[in-house]
Symmetry: C2
Subunit: 180 residues, 2 copies
């Protein structure tokens, strides 16, 4: 089954962005490449604010590596705009729809509130988190409070230059719930 | 100089305890030992609630490995009670006093609000954090918001059985501020 992978960079205190959305504290060291990750996904799902933050960061357009991008928004009209597929669907409905088609994994890009909705619905199958060695002191959390406990299995932890730590986890569901 | 090391176990979403103080989600795998850490410290500093949670967890008394324990409390009378040294001092004053004596490193045991006071005063020299592979969804954060940005250097990341991850960082202070 196509996995939903929550993949994001965070501060050491767990923030995906500063209170104003800035992500200047994140960095990508030369010895780290997202290419292997991109090779495993062909679809991305994000909230509208994450899209806007991403566009701001990259000066107008994600280099989306041919990835199909869904933007979950309550305020924007559904349908394709500028290469992004806007949708009003719930996380469950959207992921079910995507999974009707064969394909690679699905990248859940955030933000935190949307990640929480996905965790509530137990849709997150894996985590791939880059942790920078900085406590920023305040910001937008990757895991805002308010979802049931979820167990994971540590798959990999790897340190890159400048202290970037990349952690990979897979959801460890109880047998009973995987039988459904 | 005797370093102040913030050393704690946390959930993958950054909590040191559940909202009611329970730490049932933490665990200590057989291949991990705190002995090497204990060998580097001879003094511990904690908040009153952390002391009480610790006592509750261990059924009445920390096995303190001969470590001198300071409990920072605004409500308890200062002085020694039951082998713990209670104090009304500020973090700065307490750490300055401890450092007047030669000795090993100083273990900052939390809780989160006290860790924040220490981070505000830039007293944390190192982090040693055990991360369990569980998102608990809500709780008492290790790094509650409200302190200035602090840079660290990743020193070590090591995985133990059951997915416990132990991360070691050292404070990376700018040259100017270390000259004071």
């Amino acid at each position: 089954m196509r996995k939903v992978v929550l993949g994001l960079g965070i501060s050491l205190d767990g923030y995906i962005a500063r209170p104003d959305g800035a992500v200047d504290f994140l960095f990508m060291p030369k010895d780290y490449s997202m290419a292997p990750f991109f090779a495993t996904v062909d679809t991305a799902v994000m909230g509208r604010k994450t899209l806007e933050a991403g566009l701001k960061m990259t000066g107008g357009k994600f280099d989306n590596y041919g990835i199909k991008c869904y933007v979950m928004s309550r305020t924007q009209p559904p349908g394709e705009h500028d290469g992004y597929e806007f949708t009003h669907q719930t996380p469950e409905a959207l992921i079910a729809e995507i999974r009707k088609q064969p394909g690679k994994n699905i990248w859940m890009m955030g933000g935190g509130k949307l990640a929480r909705e996905f965790l509530k619905a137990d849709l997150i199958d894996a985590l791939e988190i880059g942790v920078v060695p900085t406590l920023i002191g305040e910001g937008i959390p990757l895991f805002p409070a308010g979802f049931p406990q979820r167990e994971f299995k540590l798959v990999e932890c790897k340190a890159f230059s400048k202290g970037l730590l990349v952690l990979k986890y897979e959801r460890a569901r109880k047998k009973a719930s995987t039988k459904k």
